[in-house]
Each structure stands twice: as structure tokens, then as C-alpha cells.
Symmetry: C2
Subunit: 215 residues, 2 copies
Amino acid sequence: MNMDNIITDKTANDSMESRIRDVAQELFFRQGFAATSTTQIAKEVGCTQALVHYYYRTKENLFRQIFLEQIQAALQVVGESLLSQESFDAFIEQAISLYFDALTRNPQLPFFVLEELVNNPERRRYLRENFVKKPSYVMIYMQFEARLKHEQQAGRIARIEPFDLMMTIASMTVFTFLSLPMYQDLLSRTDSQVKDYILQRKREVIRMVKKILKP
Amino acid sequence: MNMDNIITDKTANDSMESRIRDVAQELFFRQGFAATSTTQIAKEVGCTQALVHYYYRTKENLFRQIFLEQIQAALQVVGESLLSQESFDAFIEQAISLYFDALTRNPQLPFFVLEELVNNPERRRYLRENFVKKPSYVMIYMQFEARLKHEQQAGRIARIEPFDLMMTIASMTVFTFLSLPMYQDLLSRTDSQVKDYILQRKREVIRMVKKILKP
DNA sequence: ATCATATTTAATAACCCTATTAAACAAGGT
DNA sequence: ACCTTGTTTAATAGGGTTATTAAATATGAT
């Protein structure tokens, strides 16, 4: 592998290594870990299956790399939203909007993460070791908690546990995208109708959360 | 297969056929379709793998049977909750409570249904043909819609689209259980703590939905 | 006791899967 | 031109997978 390569943006790089990574990601997203084979990945890339193993040695390895990157990117969005210095209401609005936009760009992400965490204790352990323990991620939550408590003491918003607020926002955001294939298919919606639906749902979620937060 | 069998309750019946079904359900729930093999099912039942195919011919067949039963049972709960003749607020409270209780008894159900519907267009088509079209299920939704509109015209609750209200309740209920393994594992909670958490979350969801519905 | 019917097993065909190995091929440096 | 290093392929070991088949075993009815 050429480590002198100036281009480090993996998505822009079209080397075999990154093409395998990209195709693998797409297939893991669509089908999950168990239903995706290295043979299928190779076929879709247009190389031999041995090459997939040459670069990543095992399927589990390839998966983990993608998995961590995705989780990291997702947590990044959550972290950034907390940097807002505006009023709490504006911050909540901005945060929800940011989540919706991030997931609109990557609608399969919630399911991908869920699938591999729900029925895989080993991966949850891996996640706990690599992220939840990390001070930076603990800090993000504590910051959110402090800010909420502060607003409550000032009487500007209603009493609600920080964890409950977080879960409520996560629920409504994530579930919108989890149920999207059902929405589209069962109600026979076009892609453009789905886009409108997401925007409309975003507005509605913001409205509802604001109402919940009213003192 | 003995069709004269008086016992029709499948869970109480310990014939090989139903034992296979029960074990298969447990494994499909825990691991999903792709990660579960008929060999594993047979091993857990204590019979040969050929027997699994003798009764159900294909793995897909066995899966579908379980899948339909579960969806049917889930929709049953939704339907029943609408029979309530109490005030709208009481009805909402009762409905959410019912969903939470149903899922507490069967916490893997949301993920099981999701897993197989999200990345399987073929199963979504199957579901649409078998359920969404059925007049009884259309009726359930229309009943809910009519009742909500009626309350709104009377000025007793705030303006909100029936679909949005339904999605909101579904989001918060379903997501609680989807995220349960993460909650338990990442925060190192005991089973009893998890139980308390579910109850607490149920109360909170009811409280929030009521607040959203306030005029 | 016999016979039909239902249940269960052993054996196997015909795959597909992961991972490794050795050999072929490219490209750049000297 | 040659050698080194990195890339890619063909071949294959050693599994596991679904599904079918024929043969063995139970069960119940007559």
C-alpha cells in the first residue's frame, strides 16, 4: 500500500482498497453483515475475492473499519450541534434540523448501526471500550445536561430529565428514517414525495419538542 | 400432521412441528434470518436438520409463517386499543400503556419486524398484499383518524395530523425497545433497573404526548 | 397382525462461504 | 536490465449451507 499518497480522502480515492471499502459499505448498509459475502463484494467491485482479503484480511475486519467510521461520523454530528451558542430553543431547533439533514444524506445509517448493535453483544462491548468510555463523548453529554439544567433553573423551560429529552429527540429522528422504506413502499410514495415527507416531519418534530419544553 | 388435534394453541403444543417453530422463532428473533441456519435450529430442537425441512420445506417458508403471526399479533394490539370508549386523553394513555406492556412481553419484536422489512423489498410487498390492503386494517386507521378529527373540532385537543400523532407514539414506544440492549449494556444496567427504566419511560412518553395534545 | 400413514433419520447433491497460498504481473529505483 | 516492492489472480483447503431422497421407525385403524 502506497503510504505516500497525498490523497487521504477515502471516498475520493479510487484505488482498489478504497473501492472495496466503498462497495462493502454499501452492501453492509443494504443487507447487513451476515447477508453480505466477500465474494459478492468482489464481484461488485470487479476484482477477485482474494483481493478483499489481501487488503482487509478478514470480513470482520473490513466490517469493523466501516462500522467505527460510521459511528464516529454520527457522534461527530451530535457533538457539533452542542457548540451552538444561541438560545436553548434555537439550539434544540438547530440540533434536530442537523440530525435530520445528516440522516437524509445517509438514511440507512440508523438501521445499519442498530442491526449490528442489537443482536451482537460482542460489538456493543467493542463500542463501549472504544467510545462510551472516551472523555470527549462523556463531556458532550455533560455539557448538554448542564445547559438544560441551567435553563430549567432560570425557569425558561419545563422540567424534564436530560436523558428523556435526548431519547425523545433520538426516537423521533431515528424512527423517521427506520420506517422510511415501509412508508415509501406500503403507501406507494415517489422519491420526491418521500423528500417532502421528511421535511414536513422535521418541522413537526421541532414543533412538538418545543411544545414539550414549554414551561 | 394430525389435524384432529384438539390442542390448537401452538405454544402449548410440544409436537416436533411446533417445537421447531418455537425454537426457530427464538433464533430468528435473536439473530435474524440470515444469521440463523436450519442446522442450528435442528441442533437446538434436538432433531435432524431434515425434519425442519420435512415440516416447513424451506427456511423461507418457516420464517414467513413466524413473521406473519408476529405482525398479526402486533396489529391486534393496535386494533384493540382503539376500542376504548373513554375520553380521548384516557384513550391515548391506555393505548401507549398497552403498547409498552405488549413490547415488554416481547422486547425483540420491533427489531425483528424492522430487520426483515427494512432491507427486504420482497417482504414489504408480501406484507402489503397480506395486510395493508385488508379492509379491517384500513378501518382501524380511519377510526383513529375520525376520532382525532372529532376531538379537534370540539376544540378539546391541539391541531395535529393523525399520521403525525401515530408516528410520534410509534417512534417513542418502539425506539425505547430498539435501544434497550444498548441502554442496558453501555450503561451497565441490571435487569431490574431496565424494568424500572421502561416503566419510567412509559410514564414520561404518556406525559409528553398529552402535553403535545394540549390545545 | 397387518397395513397404511405419518414421522424421523442418514446420506448426499449441489451449492456458497472464508481464508490462505503460490504464482503472475506492474512500476519504480538504481 | 535487474531487482525490489506492492498488487492481483488462480487454485484450493476446509468449512458450512439448503434441500432432497430413500430408507427406517412409530402410530393407529381395521
